[in-house]
Amino acid sequence: MGIDIKSVNKRFGSFEALRDVNLSVAPGEFLALLGPSGSGKTTLLRIIAGLEFADEGQVLFDGHDVSERSVRDRHVGFVFQHYALFKHITVAKNIAFGLEVRPRASRPSRQDIDERVQRLLQLVQLPGLGGRYPTQLSGGQRQRVALARALAIEPRVLLLDEPFGALDAKVRKELRRWLRKLHDEMGITTVFVTHDQEEALEIADRVVVMSKGVIEQVGPAQEVYDQPATPFVYDFLGNTNRLPASVRGGIANVAGLLVPAPEVPDGAGIAFVRPHEFDLRPSGTYGGIEGIISHVFANGPILRIEVNVPAVHVAVDLQVEVEAMRQGVDGLSLSRGARVALAPRNIRIFPDH
């Protein structure tokens, strides 16, 4: 099922949670809403579910306006961050809940419900645990029960609010890959909220980066990472170096290095370069920023190098972080105090407001 969100606004008192949000989710897509806390991502998910209602704007399911419909009528599967399992009933009863509360006319028979519960337990890899109570399960198992419970009603869309947020790192990694495989098998449109960029980039088809109630960028994971559209996205996704720049006539001066910046207006700018997008060259090489190595940290095959760029036209020395593969820098002296040139393979200039 496809979802369209049109000009949605939402306020909580004086706090603007969402400002003119527009978004389309394609049928069968796996979409991540990514942002720091307070960015409005959970509010957007809850508005899609019908747990929250927009002040203005529409939510369309397959082209039908469902803005006024309650969560009960929207037929969505919602998975909560802290599972929200019913702790006084067994796992099997939890999964069967959505079927058992149906009116008698549309309720499956006892036997059908039992069979479906068994199938779902199999699907979420918890066969034989139907008789347990939620408190007897680990966090990862509880989250899978929550997922089975949401899937039991055969929802048109699966919505997950920080589904792995409360789990430890290893379980989180396993579970998210498993979820992605499950999605590929079932093909159900899935939207999940996360503040973990690694999680979003790894499993989502497309990533929606949000900040302060506004969508900053939407695109395939790789594209969002490689070509951040705004300084916020640059900062939020992965490590990055922020270098002050001055722009005149479409050319930016970044610590002595001249970079074309045709779309940036004259004045102060900020240049972004990720640590692994610097090439280390011998000092004096053309097209590099001159600096002095202040620290070298070896981390397995990767060298993490801090380079001091002496203040030329800026007030303070710049600290630049560089990542390089150990094999790639043979022949260079990388000891403390050595002079090197930093040649960015990829650099983006934004106006500095």
């Binding site: 579910a49 019908g50 747990l51 309650s70 969560v71 009960r72 037929h75 969505v76 599967g77 919602f78 909560f80 802290h82 929200a84 399992l85 019913f86 702790k87 006084h88 009933i89 809940f97 959505g98 509360v101 149906r102 109570y133 939620p134 408190t135 929550a146 419970r149 949401a150 039991a152 009603i153």
Partner: protein
């Protein structure tokens, strides 16, 4: 260095201090709780079983027991419904005037029960606000059973709500949201999710509310009029007998009241013992 074993626990005090503290606590309990309770029973049976039975089977005493049970049977269910509704509204929704409502629920705890009774006299009494109208329509509230029930409800209504509000606030709304998103109606959500989550707190609230409803003296005394055999509850009956120097009968009825309180306490302990694991499990997580 060998010698006397030393205490390894930094928080463990010397034996004298420990004994002293326990002794003070036990003495205090014995003096102010156990002794009076024992005295009630001793006095009740001071002249043997015969006078005791006579006192508690006397028609006025029986009518007092009956009235007390009726009052509790009306006021506890009413406060149950109100308490659950109020706690639900306060814990699960945001609305204007919420903190005012919480303060209002605490009101009966903070005003003297005598005042609570007087409020009803001022409202429904012969010289009260609605008095003339009630008189014209021949509706009796003050010095009658309805007044006693009203006063009891007023005095006991915080018990259940107060027990439930923190519990429901702590539990949050996500289980209810999950139930509704799975297609449950409001009633189904309440019955299948909310109620099971609050049942222990609710039970405590009901037990406490019931104990107070049966034992309330001040507010009931003001509105009852002390008509023997008609508007006397057990606590009032005890007082009347006592004022007539009929000590044995007075303590006999009092011992019945004390017995009811003890049964309530024992019931609570038995439930805690029987379902302790489950209570702990539902409080956790």
């Amino acid at each position: 260095m060998d010698g006397a074993p030393r205490s390894n626990d930094a928080t463990t005090e010397g034996p004298f201090l420990r004994l002293g503290l326990s002794g003070i606590a036990l003495l205090y309990l014995a003096l102010f709780l156990v002794l009076p309770l024992v005295a009630v029973f001793v006095e009740a049976f001071a002249k043997g079983l015969g006078p005791f039975l006579a006192a508690v089977t006397e028609p006025d005493a029986l009518s007092a027991v009956k009235l007390t049970l009726i009052v509790a049977a009306i006021s506890v269910p009413m406060n149950l419904v109100f308490g659950v509704a109020a706690a639900w509204a306060i814990a699960k929704y945001e609305f204007w005037g919420k903190s005012f409502l919480i303060t209002l629920i605490d009101l009966p705890f903070s005003v003297s029960p005598v005042i609570s009774g007087l409020v009803y006299i001022l409202l429904f009494g012969a010289q009260g606000l609605l008095g003339p109208w009630l008189y014209e329509h021949d509706i009796k509230i003050i010095f009658a059973v309805p007044g006693i029930v009203l006063a009891t409800i007023f005095v006991t209504f915080p018990f259940i709500a107060r027990e439930l509000i923190p519990l429901m606030q702590e539990q949050g709304t996500s289980e209810e949201e999950a139930a509704i998103s799975l297609g449950a109606s409001g009633w189904q959500t309440f019955r299948r999710v909310t109620l099971p989550n609050i049942r222990w707190g609710l039970l405590y609230g009901v037990l406490l509310c019931n104990a107070r409803a049966m034992g309330e003296f001040g507010a009931v005394s003001v509105v009852s009029g002390h008509v023997r055999g008609l508007t006397n509850t057990m606590p009032l009956h005890v007082e009347i007998l006592y004022n007539e120097y009929n000590f044995t009968a007075s303590f006999a009825v009092a011992s019945l009241l004390a017995l009811l309180a003890l049964v309530t306490l024992i019931l609570k302990s038995v439930l805690e013992w029987r379902y302790g694991d489950e209570i702990a499990a539902s409080a956790r997580h």
